[in-house]
């Protein structure tokens, strides 16, 4: 047999058609759901909880940060996000480019007065409920640049801050600890206005 015959485009088409026809013949019935028995089990059970508990759980278990990282703390945040520290363990793998899809602002870096209106704008665009973690010395107080003419001495001059994570920069463990602190805070909020 000549090589040209085996690898001719006509032969390839024939092989492909044969494979597809076989697949169609094999696939005449849907594959049964391996978890079908679950339905029956759940029907026989009732789960009781409070609205607050399920709402707070839903809110804290998938916080989505907005993109607002003006300076070097951002690199520690990137390390936190990357595979070694793996922030997606906490349902936080998404960093939303649009603040309208985010509910957490991690303020990683020095803020200048010229940048401040933009940060305020990003915060205002985020949908309620929303939280802010001040990450690093600059975010907390302006850090070593505090006395500068152009630096905002702490994000809390611009937006309300929920959790302060000290460090210059904080290590990823510290940031994760701060996020865990925020979880506790969210868990204590109530739908009816008063904290539990």
């Amino acid at each position: 047999m000549e090589v040209g015959e085996v690898y001719s485009s006509r032969q390839l088409d024939k092989d492909e058609g044969k494979q597809i026809n076989e697949l169609i013949a094999r696939s005449q019935k849907p594959i049964p759901d391996p978890d079908e028995w679950l339905d029956e089990e759940i029907k026989r059970n009732i789960l009781l909880t409070t609205v607050d508990a399920i709402l707070d759980w839903g809110r804290r278990a998938s916080l989505w940060p907005a993109v607002a990282f003006p300076a070097c703390c951002a690199f520690e945040f990137i390390a936190t996000e990357a595979s070694r520290f793996d922030l997606s363990r906490f349902g936080m793998e998404f960093i939303r480019a649009s603040p309208r899809q985010a509910d957490l602002m991690i303020t990683a870096g020095t803020l200048t007065w010229k940048m401040a209106p933009q940060i305020k704008r990003i915060y205002d665009q985020m949908a309620e409920p929303k939280w802010v973690i001040a990450m690093g010395a600059c975010a907390i107080s302006g850090g070593i640049f505090r006395s500068s003419y152009s630096v905002v001495p702490g994000y809390n001059r611009i937006i309300p801050v929920d959790v302060y994570v000290p460090g210059c920069p904080p290590r990823p463990e510290a940031l994760i600890y701060g996020i865990r602190m925020l979880y506790q805070k969210i868990d204590k909020t109530s739908l009816f206005g008063e904290d539990k």
Binding site: W113, K114, Y149, S150
Partner: protein
């Protein structure tokens, strides 16, 4: 490696062409008078053999009795460089001619110097603050700021 030309050698050439325009020359730099800065800069850019076609950087220094603006020039063709300086002694309204017409790269850097030192560049197409916001009081890199 880029060859740094001696300011003294260049000063001799420039004194021939523009008498009385050089204020001081050392092995490292060439200090020219503000009123002849633009024509000397043009001469350095256009003269064959010098051909300073690339402006590496502009910066400024506050010596309290005067402001010194430093132009670091390079010739890509001959791979040599020169440090050109000029001074303005008027602290209330320091002014120098703009070199944007010669090197477009001077645009943002002159705006930065205007912003942080308050030195006006005459002939600049768009002289306004670049780093700080409009309405900021003072010029932060001046020694008497604060």
């Amino acid at each position: 490696m880029t060859l740094a030309l001696s300011g003294k050698e260049i000063a001799k050439q420039i004194e021939k062409k523009f008498p009385g325009s050089v204020a001081e020359s050392t092995a490292d730099s060439l200090l020219v008078k503000a009123e002849s800065l633009l024509e000397i800069a043009g001469y350095l850019k256009e003269t064959p053999g010098l051909d300073f076609d690339y402006l590496t950087a502009i910066t400024a220094v506050d010596y309290i009795d005067c402001f010194e603006v430093v132009y670091q020039l390079t010739s890509l063709e001959h791979n040599h460089s020169l440090v050109l300086k000029s001074r303005c002694y008027n602290r209330d309204n320091p002014t120098l001619p703009s070199v944007v017409s010669l090197w477009r790269g001077a645009d943002f850097q002159e705006r930065e110097i205007y912003d942080l030192f308050g030195i006006s560049f005459e002939g600049h197409p768009n002289l306004k603050r670049i780093v700080l916001w409009d309405g900021f009081q003072g010029h932060p890199l001046r020694k008497d700021f604060l």
